[in-house]
């Protein structure tokens, strides 16, 4: 009997060691990638880099201000559309989980989440870019908004589903009308979760390249015209990294570093915010 307990204990110890080892192993690729990009990129970044447009071939210097501004404009426009629509749809799904419409809408959200980003790009290309006859910032925003929607919808839905129904009953029993129950009680109580979903969706789309290839396209100059092509960080990285010039490669490394830092900070912020604003039920 004692011997068998010993064997069991050994098995437990081996199992535990294996999962600890694997948990450690999965962090290695991330650390390697991070270190490499930081090493390659950090030397490129300075004030000049952030405030100037890329230099033509042969000239030294140059920066990524056009891509920074472009990414900012395109992501903000995508968010303005996707966040309210996503939250409202998420509220519907959590509030009416059993209806047929919710079932099919939820299915569509799942499918949309699985659609490859390049397919979203192609669809927007045929719907927006071709009819308008030009690549444009606005078509890039539309593509990114479509990418954002499923993330915002699902995270809102999941957050709100976790809230106890007693909360809603408390508000309704005070004679509060339904729309106010949702807007004043349910959404504020789930605010941290909804916000973290939004931030994660921004972190996700800021690095999307494929849908921007045929929509916002790219622009070597600083541009704020929404109906004209606009440069974005991932697109700049793509074009400059695949060019044959060393200067341009360095620019791409610098841009990668900035993009990585942004996504990293956004994720850290999300964690902090959810911890600070999480409401104790």
């Amino acid at each position: 009997m004692d011997a068998r307990i010993g064997v069991r204990n050994t098995k437990s110890i081996i199992f535990k060691s294996v999962i600890i080892f694997l948990a450690f192993v999965i962090t290695i690729p991330l650390i390697i990638v991070l270190l490499y990009i930081i090493k390659q990129g950090i030397t490129q970044v300075n004030w000049h880099f952030l405030t100037n447009i890329p230099a033509p071939v042969g000239e030294t210097g140059g920066g990524i201000s056009n891509a920074l501004l472009g990414s900012f404009i395109i992501v903000v426009m995508a968010s303005i559309v996707a966040i309210p629509v996503g939250i409202l749809a998420g509220i519907y799904l959590s509030e009416n989980a059993r209806t047929r419409l919710a079932y099919y809408a939820g299915l569509c959200v799942d499918v949309l989440q699985g659609v490859p980003s390049i397919v979203v790009g192609i669809v927007v290309y045929f719907w927006v870019v071709k009819p308008l006859g030009t690549f444009s910032a606005i078509s890039g925003s539309i593509a990114l908004a479509i990418m954002m929607l499923p993330i915002v919808i699902r995270s809102t839905e999941q957050t709100l589903l976790l809230l106890p129904s007693s909360l809603k009953e408390a508000a309704l029993s005070l004679g509060v009308p339904y729309h106010r129950v949702i807007l004043k009680v349910i959404v504020p109580c789930g605010f941290a979760g909804i916000l973290s979903g939004i931030m994660l969706s921004v972190a996700r789309i800021i690095g999307e390249t494929a849908p921007l290839l045929f929509t916002a396209f790219g622009n070597p100059y600083l541009s704020t015209a929404l109906t004209k092509p606009m440069e974005t960080l991932p697109h700049l990285i793509f074009t400059y990294a695949t060019s044959p010039y060393d200067d341009w490669h360095n620019l791409a490394w610098g841009a990668s570093f900035i993009l990585l830092m942004f996504v990293l900070l956004l994720n850290i912020f999300t964690k902090l915010i959810t911890r600070k604003w999480n409401i104790q039920l």
Binding site: R98, P164, S166, L167, E169, A170, A171, L172, S173, L174, G175, V176, P177, R180, V181, K184, V185, P188, C189, F191, I279, Q280, L281
Partner: protein, 252 residues
């Protein structure tokens, strides 16, 4: 019968096909504490939730028959108005976790977007918390979140929240079943004080509680109202054998 506040006649309620409340007729008089007791699944909570139309929020729930608040048919009134007039306290304390103690008390005003003077709100808060026997404990921490309070304090906060709307009737759905004995005692003491201003209808599993706090008791069994009488009468000489069996513990 001019003092009857809530009256039901031939009232029925269903969840889908499940006939939860069957032909209940009852008249509840003003400024009394009514205990509604019965075994689990007897329809007592469903009946309570029908009084302020919370029942209908459940998908598939239906009702038939008349339910009146004074002379008005509750089911012809706007449900929002009904719930102003008939407050409710739930089984588990459910203060709004995003609001302070102060805002929880006046939640009925704030969430409804009613514009009020700060002074009036202050008065309502103090009066309601005093009535709920909570003022002394929380008067220095009104702007802390309500969820920092203990379970019993939270439940009294929920009572204060219901009182703040100055309803005619307050419904209690097993209000002490999630509380420890000391908190239970303090909530029970409250019932005696509250009945001078309000009519209280209390659903309870606990027969001793029904005997302690109520003026009248209604006994529900399998969706029917078996007996409704003065509490003393009910617990000493019940008329129906089913009531007698329940009180003496032959089934539960």
């Amino acid at each position: 019968m001019e003092h009857t506040v809530v009256s039901a006649s031939k009232f029925n309620a269903w969840f889908g096909d499940n006939h939860a409340v069957k032909d209940v007729s009852i008249g509840i008089e003003k400024n009394q504490v009514i205990a509604v007791m019965g075994p689990s699944g007897c329809g007592k909570t469903t009946f309570l939730r029908c009084i302020n139309r919370m029942h209908e929020l459940i998908p598939g729930a239906t009702t038939k028959g008349s339910m009146k608040l004074y002379e008005d048919d509750v089911y012809k009134m706007n449900p929002i108005y009904v719930r102003y007039k008939i407050g409710m306290v739930f089984q588990r304390p459910n203060p709004f976790p995003n609001l302070s103690i102060y805002d929880n008390v006046v939640a009925g005003y704030k969430l409804n977007g009613l514009k009020m003077q700060k002074k009036d709100l202050d008065n309502i808060v103090e009066k309601s918390l005093t009535s709920a026997a909570l003022w002394g404990e929380v008067k220095d921490s009104l702007h802390k979140k309500g969820t920092f309070l203990s379970g019993g304090q939270q439940q009294r906060l929920c009572i204060a929240r219901a009182i703040a709307m100055e309803p005619e009737v307050i419904l209690f759905d097993e209000p002490t079943s999630a509380l420890d004995p000391i908190s239970t005692a303090s909530v029970e003491t409250l019932f005696h004080e509250l009945k001078t201003n309000y009519t209280l209808i209390i659903v309870t599993h606990n027969m001793q509680q029904a005997a302690r706090v109520s003026d009248k008791t209604a006994f529900f069994y399998l969706g029917e109202l078996v007996e409704y009488d003065d509490t003393k009468q009910m617990f000493t000489a019940p008329k129906d054998t089913r009531t007698q069996n329940y009180i003496t513990g032959r089934f539960s």
